[in-house]
Symmetry: C2
Subunit: 437 residues, 2 copies
């Protein structure tokens, strides 16, 4: 049972989700002007109340210290003036993006006076469960508002004080500027997550972000469609015809630029003819960056490396460790990636454009790259304005998911009395004419 | 354990699905020319072997008679010369459709020498479980080939003889004309369905067609994404300002043209000011077509009707029965549809264009219609060439699903040595320039 701040309404998550479902068509019908205005107000209020936000954040930092939270987590939960500037800039970018809600995707005259229109529209009610990062709360709420969706938000408990004030400011800006009462809801406790998982009648989509085990748990315990990724085992394949000036910096960046990210590289596949050219320089760079190499015998015997077990190639290290093996052909590399990978992001380093095209066609991943770091797999870097997550599923959205992943479509059919019996009997026939939009 | 006809390979469905998964990138890489040529060969071989097909079908009809299969089912399982002509024409239509596999959806220069390409591609391995209709087997196999997907097909057991010969002809045409060995597989037994449900590591999408209970069973017993619809509770709302010359034929068509279809109407909502104009004519038409009306008191008291219980509004009759109630406002109609409906197809009968637009915006269904029969909700009638099913989900495909619902996309990123560290440090910045395709 939960109490809505300042409202004295006690509702379960299930009741809340049902109320949101009813409000979701109201939310979906709001104009781009209203949605963008709300976003402007959110940016404004966050900046004007920054002292209160930073104070709440200090409380979270203090508790994190008392609870001996790891340094890496503390770094993410700190909400600085710089992070506030980044998120408000992110909101401004979102406002500037063209509106995709109610975009006409097809106009087809089926017969005279019978016109089919395919039009995008919001999905409805979206549940997002995310890590302890205050900036994530703001980004996700902003994306849901921009896309006309109602949202249930559950952030990491380590940022509860910051989340509480951020959410109440965002919610206030939303309802004071025309969005329906149940457009946004913040879940506070871990118990609410399991209740949320049973809300398949009201919640249209769940987006869990977090550890492999956590996302797997969500996927296995709900009937609600889930968008996301459990793990990120990304590969870099160094082809025979490669440029070492590109290869070494890309591998180092993909491993070290943010080691704990899902799009950092975990496995290196090296064409057997490329090993002797690549390894001496690479080993030196690994030593400089304190990267531990675990390689199969043909590499380990010659260069400074621990031996790799089969298990290594199925492991997301999220650490300064990299597995490596040689392959005899590009097909062997493709097969390894499709079997051991997580269909997230995989890269070929090659100067041979035909090899690149072949690799990019045959590797079954959301992102297939040539000659650049796997770390580019990100909604901001793709120019989506923001992302709610990265999907390794192939159904609906794939890869970094921005506004388009939060939309569906409906078919509108405008008739003038048509019945199917006339077409079934052959009295009338369809002429299918696509009209310009 | 199953034996592949003429191949002496005994594999479980799980092993078969894993083999298909490996072949799926080969399948996906076949050119439009190869895929269309295979379709041509399928149409040709089906016509040339029609006597054998009809003979197998007679066997199914004979067994259906012996097993006292209901008349409606027998009608569907009969495979006549007319049905063969229809399906081969359907294949020709598919061949003529523009190829959507590997269609460029976006080309964006992120920075100089760093270009993002979003390209459509097949989903991979699709499992389709469908009713006892031989034409469905041909259509579904053809759609999967056209879209570059591998497919596991399981048809109704009442057509097993017809399915067996149809599948073997289609499979032969497929592998003799360049598709990989494991592009298609036909499952024979009911037990194989439960095995198929556990193949979430190899099967990317399940499309079950059939009864409400069957589809619910599938949805509740697999981790594989499921596309389809459990039920079809479609509504027609007769607004105040309506044309009776349109209303009566549309309601009769939507109820009687194919009563057992998911897109036939189950509930009539009538604006209170429209009742007295509509009902006398409508009651007469109901009597002519033997339609039983179950209405709330304000209608039942005045016109020939049984009383409707609340349960009636949540029931998919699939029979010559129609529930009805009056509403005081269009909002009441919208609320009823969003609460009781199955988000399939709902229609407003009105001459008031503003009311139509409001209804079509606020009703949360895959199809929202004005002044035409709900029976138009169908891939052929939308001009998709064919459909694999109708989706009432909002994730991925919605409404009738043709080729586009069988495709996903991938992001290709072409670089020239770029690393993320340079962008994180501010040394480089993205310039996001969308290029013409």
């Amino acid at each position: 049972m939960i109490e809505r701040t300042g409202k004295h309404i006690i509702m379960t998550i299930k009741e809340m989700a049902a109320a949101m479902k009813l409000d979701s068509t109201q939310m979906a019908s709001k104009s781009a002007e209203i949605r963008n205005h709300v976003l402007e107000e959110i940016a404004r209020i966050l900046l004007s109340k920054q002292e209160e936000i930073f104070k709440a954040n200090e409380q979270d930092l203090l508790e994190a210290e008392q609870n001996h939270i790891p340094e890496a987590v503390v770094k993410r939960l700190k909400f600085s003036a710089q992070k506030l500037a980044d998120v408000t800039q992110g909101i401004e970018n979102l406002i500037a993006l063209p509106d995709k809600v109610y975009e006409t995707q097809l106009v087809r005259e089926l017969d005279q006076g019978l016109t089919l229109v395919k039009e995008s529209c919001p999905i409805g009610v979206i549940g997002v469960i995310f890590e302890a990062r205050p900036d994530a709360l703001v980004q996700i709420a902003a994306l849901c508002i921009k896309s006309g969706n109602c949202a249930i938000l559950k952030g990491g408990s380590e940022t509860k004080h910051t989340n509480k004030i951020l959410f109440s400011l965002i919610y206030q800006a939303a309802i004071e500027n025309g969005l329906p009462k149940n457009c946004l809801y913040q879940a506070d406790t871990r118990e609410e997550i399991s209740e949320l998982l049973s809300c398949h009648e009201s919640v249209d989509l769940l987006i869990p972000r977090g550890s492999n085990a956590f996302v797997q748990y969500i996927m296995n315990n709900t009937k609600i469609p889930v968008m996301g990724h459990a793990d990120g085992i990304c590969h870099i394949y160094v082809d025979r015809d490669f440029d070492i000036e590109k290869a070494v910096p890309i591998i180092i960046d993909a491993k070290t630029q943010y080691t704990a990210a899902c799009n950092s590289v975990e496995t290196l596949l090296i064409h057997k003819d490329a090993v002797d050219c690549l390894m001496p320089k690479l080993i030196k760079a690994f030593q400089e960056h304190h990267i531990e190499l675990r390689a199969t015998a043909e590499i380990a015997d010659k260069y400074d490396s621990k031996p790799a077990e089969d298990e290594d190639f199925a492991t997301e290290y999220l650490d300064l460790i990299l597995s490596a093996k040689t392959v005899s052909t590009i097909d062997e590399a493709v097969l390894h990636i499709n079997q051991y990978g997580s269909h997230h992001t995989d890269c070929i380093i090659t100067e041979d454009q035909r090899a690149a095209e072949y690799f990019m066609k045959m590797v079954d991943s959301a992102g297939v790259y040539q000659n650049c770091s796997t770390r580019f797999a990100d909604g901001f870097r793709y120019g989506f304005g923001a992302e709610v997550g990265i999907s390794t599923g192939k159904i609906h959205a794939r890869g970094p998911v921005g506004i388009e992943g939060l939309l569906t479509y409906k078919y509108k059919l405008y008739g003038s009395g048509q019945v199917v019996a006339d077409y079934a009997s052959g009295k009338k026939t369809f002429h299918f004419k696509d009209l310009s939009q």
